[in-house]
């Protein structure tokens, strides 16, 4: 049997079983969540290299029925989501014992995973919206899970802005349906490419829909100027949830959806009017995010808040790669150059998913041991918590782009592509901001890890093994991605890039 629907069915089943069994069995959440995310992670890793398939729900062939699609891009995202979800659950086992209502926590966590997997495998615009809402509602509740004053405020902001994004996305979906008469992404792509190609043939309603999609998904991905909720929401959540939010939620709900909708449904092609405008706005959003996220991160003294601003900047790099690739495709430039830019963007997406979740989990470990997030009250963590400090260092080096770690290669690929595409000013900005990234991670190292033991660190002890084992696994992945690119890049990244670039192949895959 085809495993694609299992990526949604398993976490959904776990999400509903946990509260039911939780009435009689207090540990049901831990057990079921760990079991199902482990299964999902193994399934995701096993699906590397599998051929692209379109699964017809209920046996109805698209465009009538709902299709679940699994291609290279899907596999890339499924690996990131499910592996990180599994490690976050393992981390939660010890970390979350301080909270009450744990079956609810694990149930919401599984709902969030189900929603993200659903977004990633969905081949239907409205289905994408539904799963996006499932994942978003679960994450709103999880941000406010502690129900302290800060958490509620952050959760409310996230809820309001997230709902505005959802309204925009639904409006855009309605417009696409009104113009094309279908909700299936492949069918809509075919309609748009046949009916609205050629000079000046872009429908103004479609352009409105594209703008609404870009706004909605940018709000979900927290690109500047739609970022206001992120620096509040991500630090306020419990550490495993911060890791999920920064690591995979903003990417699967935001970046992935932008990729799918713009590259496949609207299509970047010289024949399609308005695709240059779209690509340019993607680049502008990316540059703004890189600059604003980076500059605001420097001044932060709250460790998790610094990480949150850093997320904005790094997602900007992902978007820059994708945007430059899109612009090259839209202006009819060489496809090899577009392929390079998109590959860089996707590579940075995966890298950022792993090192940012590692950083947030380690910040949780630090908070667990010292009881504070304030960098002014820390120092000399290296002596008290050697393992956590080591992995934090690794992740910081990786994210700030120090060779030979993975972040260096992905940023290098993006920069080479930007220079080759002759966007010299943007390339200059990206290089300067890469140094700014290095600067604020040097600040993290100076204030928290090195130096003399002071403040809250004096009482700190190394966290238990259940908490540092996931950190070590993530650190190994970070190093491995940098050194072993030829091994896994060939198997994961290149299929994803090819899937993203070939809109026609996607249409053929789904519609047969």
């Amino acid at each position: 049997m085809n495993p694609v629907p299992l990526f949604v069915a398993i976490p959904l089943g776990a999400a509903f079983l946990i509260p039911m069994l939780g009435i009689w069995w207090k540990k049901s959440g831990e057990a079921l969540a760990a079991l199902s995310t482990a299964t999902l992670a193994v399934m995701a890793i096993l699906s590397i290299g599998s051929t692209a398939v379109a699964y017809h729900m209920g046996g109805w062939a698209p465009p009538v029925g709902i299709a679940l699609v699994s291609d290279g891009l899907t596999v890339l995202l499924l690996i990131a989501v499910n592996v990180i979800a599994f490690l976050c659950i393992i981390f939660s086992l010890k970390y979350m014992t301080a909270y009450s209502g744990l079956p609810k926590y694990y149930s919401l966590f599984m709902l969030m995973v189900a929603g993200m997997n659903g977004v990633v495998v969905s081949g239907d615009l409205f289905n994408l919206y539904v799963f996006l809402e499932v994942a978003s509602i679960a994450s709103y509740a999880l941000v406010a899970f502690g129900t302290e004053a800060d958490e509620l405020e952050a959760g409310f902001k996230y809820l309001v802005l997230g709902s505005v994004a959802s309204v925009m996305i639904l409006f855009a979906i309605g417009t696409v349906y009104a113009v094309t008469g279908t909700l299936n992404m492949a069918d809509a792509a075919r309609e748009i490419s046949t009916r609205f190609s050629g000079a000046g043939a872009m429908n103004p309603a479609l352009l409105l829909a594209a703008a609404m999609f870009l706004m909605g998904f940018s709000l979900k991905a927290a690109l500047v100027p739609f970022h206001a909720w992120l620096p509040d929401a991500h630090p306020s959540a419990p550490a495993p949830i911060s890791a999920m939010l920064s690591g995979v939620v903003i990417k699967s709900l935001g970046i992935y959806a932008i990729c799918r909708v713009f590259f496949h449904v609207f299509g970047f092609d010289p024949n399609v009017m308005g695709s240059v405008i779209l690509a340019n706005s993607m680049i502008w959003l990316a540059v703004l995010s890189i600059v604003v996220g980076g500059l605001l991160a420097i001044g932060q003294w709250d460790y998790k808040r610094l990480l949150a601003y850093s997320s904005i900047g790094q997602v900007g790099y992902v978007m820059l790669g994708l945007g430059v690739g899109a612009r090259v495709l839209a202006t009819g430039g060489p496809r090899s150059l577009a392929a390079l830019a998109i590959l860089g963007g996707l590579f940075h997406l995966v890298n950022h998913a792993f090192f940012k979740s590692l950083l947030f989990l380690s910040s949780g470990a630090i908070q667990h041991a010292t009881g504070t997030r304030d960098m002014k009250q820390m120092g000399g963590l290296r002596e008290k918590m050697p393992i956590t400090s080591a992995v934090t260092n690794l992740a910081a080096l990786s994210i700030s782009g120090v060779p030979p770690f993975s972040g260096f290669w992905s940023k290098l690929i993006i920069l080479i592509a930007v220079v080759k595409a002759e966007h010299y000013v943007i390339a200059g900005i990206a290089i300067v901001m890469a140094f700014v990234t290095l600067a604020y991670y040097v600040k993290v190292q100076r204030e928290i890890i090195f130096g003399s033991v002071r403040g809250a660190v004096e009482r700190a002890k190394e966290v238990p093994a259940a908490m540092y084992v996931p950190l070590i696994i993530l650190a190994i992945v970070c190093v491995g991605f940098g050194l072993l690119y030829p091994v896994f890049g060939y198997r994961i990244l290149e299929p994803a890039r090819d899937a993203l670039m070939n809109s026609a192949e996607y249409v053929k895959l789904v519609l047969g």
């Binding site: 089943g13 509903f16 079983l17 509260p19 039911m20 017809h56 729900m57 046996g59």
Partner: protein, 151 residues
Amino acid sequence: MKGMSLIVKTISDFVVGFIIIFGAYIVLYGHLTPGGGFAGGVIIASAFILLMLAHGKDVAFSKLGERAAHILDSAGALAFLLIGWVGVVGGYFFMNVFGRGEQFRLLSSGMILPGNIAIAFKVASSLFLVFSALAVFRRRSFRSMIEGELR
């Protein structure tokens, strides 16, 4: 919540049964007429909400306990998922493997009817839980507000 006046209590006692029957009708005939699991479930939940408004929390919870509602909530969703799994027998998730039956008959259109019933349980119990949770919330925050004012 202590409940409302005698008139409200009597009338609501009288109509609650009819509301539930109407809700069940909407659920069971959801595949033939407008309606379905969600609409019928909302109507059934509204019967319990009426009970809670008229008689107070304790009477409503004696009819449908909080724990039972939680179990029904999850069980409904799981039952729907299970119906999806049954379709795997036919080769696809959610495939309609039961016979389609004769048009315009109650027992027709395969798994839409069991699906509707599962959703109705889920919707009725979860809406009831949402309402009761908000009612409990309100009482507690009201008390804390009064205490705050006294201080």
